[in-house]
């Protein structure tokens, strides 16, 4: 048995009205660091590779839900530097297929209680996600999707033109090519402050004894007789009973250290933020005649994005054709944003799977677990991904919301292809 680790970090202040009042009166000098920047021990029960949203959530639920606290999270950079800080912060559970809906709806329910659960302000804002339709067949498709959602107990409302106008009167309803006919609205969807998700999970895990180790890159896996026994890192070898990979765009690289080839390609997606303006856009709005989605942050910046660039990439930056395409979509939808300046844009690395859906499963190596394939939709899934992955690691059986996300579904033909695009990752 590995020795059990510290039971928690007493230095961390719990947030409450009382603590806030006390700090306000004493000049805010009493706040302590929110999590420990740990050095690696020689051995752990579980090593989670990847200190992004999913890895940190996995460690949090392992310690909180399953009582496994002798855990290390290894991050090659610093936490929150990857996709958890690079997305457009949208959360929703408006999926179509039976394999997907339970996971994303579990995630939505976890978002709804997350701030109380981990005692941290993640600015969860259920301001609604509105997908516009511009043609009759698209209306039929959205009606079908809304019905599928409601059959699974998820909220969905099909709006006509007037219904959309009541929410977003500023849209370009009478565009000659793509007039807006209505939309599918999920009121419980919205946005969450993504950095706070990383920090909140890190804080919750760290306070229960999880070691969060930054600037620690995994360089090899130690496998004996088909069983994982540890990892080699830039900070030395670490023994582990179980090793869990949650490394998004780096999945193929890390998995190859264990001799695995996966149905994954790494791609890049770009996101954009404009200069801050007064409140304009009430929720999340997506353009149905192209690929464009937009919301407005509390600071006033418009946060938007579109398609992935579409070619394999590990560069964390994209190219201009997609910038142009995204901006064209935005102008078609709301021409009045044409004079707003874009302040920043950036890229994130996607683990595009061959059917557009994730994988949460064991691997052919005993004790080695895989969480990947989130494509461009991983942020909204962060809580459920962490909970289901923690369940799998702790109990060696899939969580009931994640039974479909098997690694062998490609060989078996049991694909979960929301778009029906086939094994061509850049089309998902």
């Amino acid at each position: 048995m590995f020795r059990s680790r510290n039971e928690g970090d007493e230095r961390m202040t719990r947030f409450s009205l009382l603590a806030l009042a006390k700090e306000a009166l004493s000049g805010h000098r009493g706040w302590s660091p929110q999590w420990r920047d740990a050095k690696p021990q020689s051995a752990y029960d579980v090593v989670v590779i990847g200190g992004g949203g999913h890895g940190l959530a996995t460690a949090y639920y392992l310690s909180r839900q399953y009582g496994i606290t002798n855990v290390a999270v290894l991050e090659k950079g610093w936490i929150g530097n990857g996709n958890v800080g690079r997305n457009t912060t949208i959360v929703r559970s408006n999926y179509l297929l039976p394999g997907n809906i339970p996971l994303y709806e579990l995630s939505m329910k976890l978002w709804e209680g997350l701030e109380q659960d981990f005692n941290y302000n993640a600015m969860v804002s259920q301001r609604g996600v509105l997908n516009l339709y511009h043609a009759d067949p698209q209306r039929d498709a959205y009606a079908r999707r809304g019905n599928a959602m409601r059959l699974h107990g998820v909220d969905a409302e099909l709006l006509d033109r007037d219904g959309v106008r009541a929410i977003a009167p500023f849209l370009n309803f009478d565009d000659a090519r793509f007039p807006i006919q209505g939309g599918l609205l999920q009121r419980r969807g919205g946005t969450v402050r993504h950095d706070a998700v990383a920090w909140g999970y890190a804080r919750g895990a760290s306070s229960r004894g999880v070691d969060i180790i930054q600037n620690c890159e995994v360089t090899g896996m130690e496998i004996m007789q088909g069983r994982i026994t540890g990892v080699q890192t830039s900070l030395g070898s670490i023994r582990a009973r179980k090793v869990a990979m949650a490394v998004a765009g780096s999945t193929s690289r890390v998995a190859s250290m264990a001799g695995l080839r996966l149905p994954i390609e790494s791609h890049v997606i770009q996101a954009f933020v404009s200069e801050g303006i007064k409140p304009l856009i009430p929720g999340v709005i997506t353009f149905g005649a192209g690929h464009f989605y937009i919301s407005q942050s509390d600071k006033g910046g418009l946060v938007f994005g579109g398609d992935i660039d579409g070619y394999n990439s590990y560069a964390q930056r994209g190219n201009l054709p997609v910038v142009e395409d995204v901006c064209e979509g935005g102008i078609a939808l709301m021409p009045m944003i044409g004079r707003i300046r874009v302040l920043r844009n950036w890229g994130g690395l996607l683990d595009m799977s061959m059917d557009g859906s994730p994988i949460i499963d064991r691997t052919p190596v005993d004790g080695l677990y895989l969480n990947c394939g989130w494509c461009y939709g991983g942020f909204k899934a962060t809580p459920a991904s962490g909970l289901c992955f923690a369940h799998l690691i702790a109990q060696d059986a899939p969580h009931r919301a994640a039974t479909a996300f098997r690694l062998d579904r490609f060989a078996l033909g049991a694909l979960i292809d929301e778009k029906g695009a086939g094994a061509q990752p850049n089309l998902h």
């Binding site: 193929s252 080839r261 790494s266 070619y311 394999n312 590990y314 560069a315 850049n426």
Partner: protein, 88 residues
């Protein structure tokens, strides 16, 4: 990103369509383990971080299929040849 098309010269990325890694070769359907071979051909990828040989189609140009050698870490392109010239 600009791609050096052997016919058209250096052209903008937006003229091309992407078809991914050029390495997987369609297996023999009459092979005994054809289902396994096709699973690997259709779904499994090396996904290298570094140089990759990949298929691009010059859709808004000469409509040739190209094999482009590109570094996925930097997007730097080392060269492009016509796919039909490399077909066996």
């Amino acid at each position: 990103m600009r791609i050096p098309c052997p016919y058209c010269g250096s052209r903008d990325l937006s003229e091309f369509a992407y078809h991914g890694d050029a390495t997987p070769k369609r297996p023999d359907p009459s092979a005994e383990n054809a289902p396994e071979l096709f699973y690997e051909y259709v779904y499994l990828r090396e996904n290298p971080a570094g140089p990759i040989r990949e298929l691009w189609y010059h859709a808004s140009g000469c409509r040739s299929w190209l094999i482009v050698t590109r570094d996925t870490r930097t997007h730097a392109i080392a060269g492009a040849v016509l796919a039909m010239e490399t077909a066996s």
